[in-house]
């Protein structure tokens, strides 16, 4: 068993840390409060290879593994969780699906500019009345022979306003239930695609979340991904990988809050000594450090399993559930450690606390992840220590 990162992994981690500190930190408070999209920074993330980090070099990506992806997301999330979710939704939802199951033409047309960071992608699954339950799609894609006719509404779409290419899940044959669902690549500029207003959110406020309306959108046949009826399975697989990204984001949020708190508690004094020397604070920091390390092990291991080609669904579920709970719990503690300073924007921890909440909700709520883990237990898959 080897817990050491390779030189390359360390280099990725250091590059992401440097990027976050030198490019994301400045202005992060203002972007959050005014909901300003970090477009310039995202373009730079493209140039650095973060926007196609796992995509193969053949399609303009960086060809790195899931662990590199996780390390980069963790560092970016410490400073700017909004930039992290932009990167995560783009990479693990949109790009991954096209690379794994797209046709050669789809890869050339869409994957290459996406992986180079020239275009942004998004994944349109959630609907006003179907969040985590992906089998209940009300958006329809009627087979018209030469094309599909797409109608419906998608909600809470990360990158919704900026994405040039959308990966849309829709019901083609309601009689077949989830076996009648398909996935399509839809271009933002097509007739009938309308992006709704930007959502005003609690956290990750500078990321770009919208609803998207589809009214009689003609989707060419060749834009369907995989065989007819593959959409539901694809969506499930996308979420399985996507969870690793969100788990890494949650881990980064927690670790960022911890680093700020550990530093603050040595600078801030009360009753004649640094607050880090008061047991009340020292114990909080100890628990933070331990919980974050535990979450980190789960997240890195899920990435490792994915990189090794082993099943990782339960591992990514555990990683996401644990890391998001740790992020929520300890960002609250971080605000507490900072006292009055923690409650104002200048000290960053209140933002991290608001950002943490979404990690328990999106790409499968905490409750859904418990269901997934429980199902794995029932199937006997978690019977042995692995």
């Amino acid at each position: 068993m080897d817990f050491k990162l390779s030189e390359e992994h360390k280099a990725v981690q250091q590059a992401a840390r440097e990027f976050a500190k030198t490019r994301l930190l400045e202005g992060v408070i203002e972007r959050d409060s005014k909901m300003i999209h970090p477009s310039e920074q995202v373009a730079e993330m493209g140039a650095l290879g973060f926007m196609g980090i796992m995509t193969s070099e053949k399609y303009g990506g960086s060809g790195m593994d899931a662990l590199s992806y996780v390390l980069a997301l963790e560092e970016i999330s410490k400073i700017d969780a909004s930039a992290a979710v932009i990167m995560s939704a783009h990479n693990s939802l949109a790009l991954w699906a096209i690379e794994a199951y797209g046709s050669d033409t789809q890869k050339e047309t869409y994957l290459t500019p996406l992986a180079q960071g020239k275009n942004i992608g998004c994944f349109c699954l959630s609907e006003p009345e179907a969040g985590s339950d992906a089998s209940m799609q009300r958006t329809t894609a009627e087979d018209k022979g030469d094309f599909y006719l797409l109608n419906g509404v998608k909600n809470w779409i990360t990158n919704g306003g900026k994405a040039d290419y959308q990966l849309v899940i829709a019901q083609t044959d309601p009689d077949k239930k989830h076996r009648g669902i398909n996935a399509f690549i839809v271009e933002k500029n097509w007739e009938g695609v309308t992006v709704g207003p930007k959502e005003d959110k609690l956290g990750i406020r500078s990321s770009d979340t919208h609803s998207i309306n589809y009214t009689d959108v003609k989707v060419p046949k060749q834009n369907r991904i995989g065989a007819d009826g593959f959409g539901f399975k694809l969506a499930m697989q996308i979420l399985e990988g996507g969870r690793i990204g969100i788990a890494a984001q949650a881990l980064g949020i927690a670790a960022g809050a911890y680093e700020l708190s550990a530093n603050y508690s040595t600078i801030r004094s009360s009753f004649g000594k640094p607050i880090a020397d008061h047991q009340a604070i020292a114990f909080k920091l100890a628990e933070m450090a331990m919980d974050i390390e535990a979450a980190r092990m789960l997240v890195y291991r899920a990435a490792y399993l994915k990189d090794s080609g082993e099943p990782y669904g339960y591992a990514s579920a555990m990683a996401k559930l644990k890391a998001s709970d740790v992020a929520m719990k300890h960002t609250v503690e971080a605000v507490q450690i900072h006292g009055g300073n923690g409650y104002v924007k200048e000290y960053h921890v209140e933002r991290l606390m608001r950002d943490a909440k979404i990690t328990q909700i999106y790409e499968g709520t905490s409750e859904i992840h418990k269901i997934i883990i429980a199902r794995n237990i029932r199937r006997g898959e978690l019977a042995l220590p692995i």
Binding site: E7, A11, V12, A15, A47, L48, E57, S62, M64
Partner: protein, 248 residues
């Protein structure tokens, strides 16, 4: 044009400085190492020459195997080859002589080394390389252009600057201003992947002597608490500076 950039592997600028082994060794525990900032300004300018005029850029460091991560970073940023002289850096003249020995085998038109490293702050290596190789030399370099065989460089002096012309080959002591902090490059993912495949040659040391050795380290005495003066009572501040501190 062939450029050699000398890289020192130093503790990150935010590192806490502590000593161990009876205050004879620097405590490396938990210390993150980086490319010496002054070297990085030089490396970034070298990358500019590479992109503009197709210069080749080699990087060199005198150090043990740990310094390889720092050299790999320089390769990830875009250097073509890395050379590590497999020796612990003992003093400036030893380092300069090792680099001179490597330069006997490979000739360079431009050698860039940081004005000083941020750990031992000697500020001698670039000048010593120049003296050993007989190359022209300029320190505190805040601007450098090269046309054919002629370099035009700006040197920062106390209270001003001067423009100096020199034929190549030339050694410069680099510092901030040669490029700006915002020009510094973060290695991109492809660069990191490529760095793995680029040559990193380890050469054995040629120098044995030592001219200067560190006997021990010490940390500055802890200073007393700050004396706070009421903003409504600036007279008191002036009186303290005059009568107590005796600085005005």
């Amino acid at each position: 044009m062939k450029i050699l950039v000398c890289i020192s592997h130093v503790p990150d600028t935010t590192s806490k400085i502590n000593f161990v082994e009876n205050d004879t060794q620097f405590d490396t525990q938990g210390v993150q190492y980086i490319i010496n900032p002054n070297d990085e300004f030089g490396l970034t300018r070298a990358m500019w020459f590479k992109e503009k005029s197709g210069a080749s850029v080699d990087v060199i460091s005198v150090g043990t195997a740990e310094t390889e991560a720092t050299l790999r970073k320089a390769l990830a940023i875009g250097a073509d080859n890395a050379i590590r002289v497999n020796a612990t850096a003992r003093d400036a003249q030893q380092v300069a002589k090792e680099i001179d020995a490597v330069m006997q085998e490979n000739s360079y038109d431009l050698v860039i080394a940081g004005r000083e490293s941020i750990d031992y702050n000697g500020g001698m290596v670039p000048g010593m390389i120049a003296a050993l190789t007989g190359m022209n030399y300029l320190n505190n370099c805040i601007g450098l252009e090269i046309e054919g065989n002629q370099a035009t460089a700006i040197r920062e002096m106390d209270g001003g600057k001067e423009t100096i012309t020199s034929p190549l080959p030339l050694v410069i002591g680099a510092q901030k201003g040669l490029v700006e902090e915002s020009d510094l490059r973060i290695p991109n993912m492809r660069g990191i992947m490529m760095a793995r495949k680029k040559p990193l040659t380890v050469v054995e040391p040629t120098q044995e002597g030592q001219q200067v050795q560190t006997v021990s380290f010490e940390k500055p005495a802890p200073k007393g608490a700050v004396k706070l003066v009421d903003p409504e009572n600036i007279d008191e501040l002036i009186s303290l500076l005059h009568n107590e501190a005796k600085v005005i």
